[in-house]
């Protein structure tokens, strides 16, 4: 589905990602585990083609996207739900969702997708005319996810979807992620909550200081001695 080869990315003067090579298979949930500042968000932003690559390449569905601008990557179905949601606060819930389907491929099916998103998150339907900035944290996260789904993702990258949410909502969020995956969307998950993330993941890798140190099946990583100590608090 997506793979990178020896990716090197700088953020300002700092060498954040060092020789990152990985591959995610179609239909998988893949978790990226790592401490704050290890380079997880930088990786996602590199894949979204927002950050320039110093060297290396990214291939999505067999297409080399290393030189694509961000909007073209979206058209291909490589969608990011960013950390901090990045909603449009003074636009309505409905407008936020509509903008999710801004690109042609998604726009053609906008009405159908909208119905699906509303059936997944009925609360968004109820709040459709409300301004996004007035929603609660959990609702905003649903809206961010809903907006991502409106883009008809083939690969959905989620950056800290559970950040700042109440435990009950976090549980719902993970159920929803599984549900989205079952419907055929490949998922790349970046989570502080590594234990929960790995529990629903088929595969995963650990980033430390910008390098992939461990990769494998989700369960293997969850059981790895080093990850248990460093990231799972066991």
């Amino acid at each position: 589905m997506i793979s990178s080869k020896e990716l090197n990315v700088y953020y300002r003067q700092v060498h954040v990602l060092k020789d990152i090579s990985f591959e995610i298979q179609k239909g998988e949930i893949c978790s990226v585990v790592g401490a704050n500042g290890a380079g997880k968000s930088t990786l996602i932003n590199s894949l979204s083609r927002i950050l320039p690559l110093k060297s290396g390449s990214i291939s999505f569905n067999g297409e080399d996207i290393s030189q694509y601008p961000p909007h073209r990557v979206v058209e291909l179905g490589l969608i990011q739900v960013p950390e901090g949601r990045k909603l449009f606060p003074s636009l309505t819930v409905l407008e936020n969702l509509e903008l999710g389907a801004y690109q042609r491929r998604a726009k053609e099916k906008r009405e159908d997708t909208l119905r699906e998103v509303f059936s997944l998150f009925p609360i968004l339907d109820k709040r459709r005319a409300q301004l996004a900035g007035t929603l609660s944290g959990g609702e905003q996260q649903m809206l961010a996810l809903g907006r991502g789904l409106m883009s008809l993702p083939r690969l959905l990258m989620m950056d800290e979807p559970s950040l700042g949410l109440a435990p009950l909502i976090v549980k719902q969020m993970f159920n929803t992620i599984k549900q989205i995956n079952v419907s055929g969307v490949t998922i790349l998950l970046v989570e502080q909550n590594a234990r929960k993330a790995l529990a629903i993941s088929d595969s995963g890798f650990v980033i430390e200081n910008g390098k992939i140190t461990i990769s494998g099946k989700g369960s293997e990583i969850a059981e790895n001695e080093h990850t248990r100590k460093a990231f799972l608090g066991l």
Partner: protein, 290 residues
């Protein structure tokens, strides 16, 4: 002040306010979407006036008919300026951006002076001196036409921003450009369109003003200062604020002219400007930016 003068000032203020609103809406659009303070905005208006002047003078066109040329011409002019001058410095520090638009302002004013000379020019049409009377209130027909067009343009722009996908994308970029990029909006392209629309608003205002005001290469500065007051008053980057602010300043100037004297009308405007900055820097409709 008797009622007669009151209504006269009220009418005149509202009619002029429509023009101020159109200029300010263009300026606030550029400010809101691009976060750029466009000092050259008044020069676009000045150039719009000249274009109308020359089309009327050389081809005998009706000044209002020239709108169908000035609006698209200045839209593309704005797109080009954004593409080649502003996009390259979008990530530069604020003072660099200010220097650029300030430089553009000086360049365009002097270019106009070089091309058209420093003379004051005006046009005359069959209806230039036609005065309309409602009750005891008199006003030039050209002012009413200017007002009507200005309202049509701002309303059309408002509907465009509210209802169309492109309009929503422009609003999205003005609020959260990063989020806009992630939903697949070509942000730089939206910036070009926004700057083009802002420029077209200023030029359209110029065309509408041409049958009423004289044009010279330095008239832009007068309008841009007023437009800045309107934009700050309305809350920077706020569309409705610019619209309402335009009318407030239009009324303030016309009542200022009556109460104080015509030469002091700008005093009222800038007194309002200073008071707003001191007491409510976010403007009437503005919200605090995080």
């Amino acid at each position: 002040m008797n009622w007669e003068i009151f209504f006269q000032a009220l009418t005149s203020g509202i009619l002029t306010g429509g023009l101020f609103a159109l200029v300010a809406v263009g300026l606030t659009m550029i400010l809101g979407v691009l976060k750029i303070i466009n000092f050259a905005h008044g020069e676009f208006l000045m150039l719009g006036m000249y274009m109308t002047y020359w089309l009327c003078t050389l081809f005998n066109m009706d000044p209002y008919l020239t709108l169908i040329i000035t609006i698209p011409a200045f839209f593309f002019f704005g797109v080009i300026i954004q593409r080649w001058l502003i996009n390259p410095i979008l990530d530069a520090p604020m003072e660099i951006q200010i220097l650029l638009t300030l430089g553009l302002f000086i360049f365009l004013a002097n270019l106009a002076q070089l091309l058209f000379g420093p003379h004051v020019r005006s046009i005359e049409t069959a209806y230039t001196f036609k005065i309309l009377t409602i009750g005891s209130v008199n006003f030039a027909s050209t002012r009413l036409i200017m007002f009507i067009f200005a309202i049509i343009f701002t309303t059309a722009l408002y509907i465009f921003l509210k209802k169309t996908d492109l309009g929503k994308a422009i609003r999205a970029c003005s609020e959260e450009s990063y989020g806009a990029m992630l939903v697949g909006i070509n942000v730089k392209r939206v910036y070009m369109i926004a700057f083009g629309i802002g420029t077209a608003c200023a030029a359209a205002a110029g065309s509408l003003a041409m049958p009423i005001y004289y044009v010279n290469p330095h008239i832009g500065a007068t309008f841009v200062m007023t437009a800045f007051v309107v934009v700050v008053l309305g809350g920077m980057g706020n569309f409705m604020g610019a619209l309402v602010g335009g009318f407030i300043i239009g009324l303030a100037e016309s009542f200022g002219a009556v109460i104080l004297s015509a030469s002091l009308k700008q005093l009222v405007t800038f007194t309002i400007f200073v008071l707003i900055l001191l007491l409510r820097p976010t403007g009437l409709f503005g919200t605090k930016r995080s």
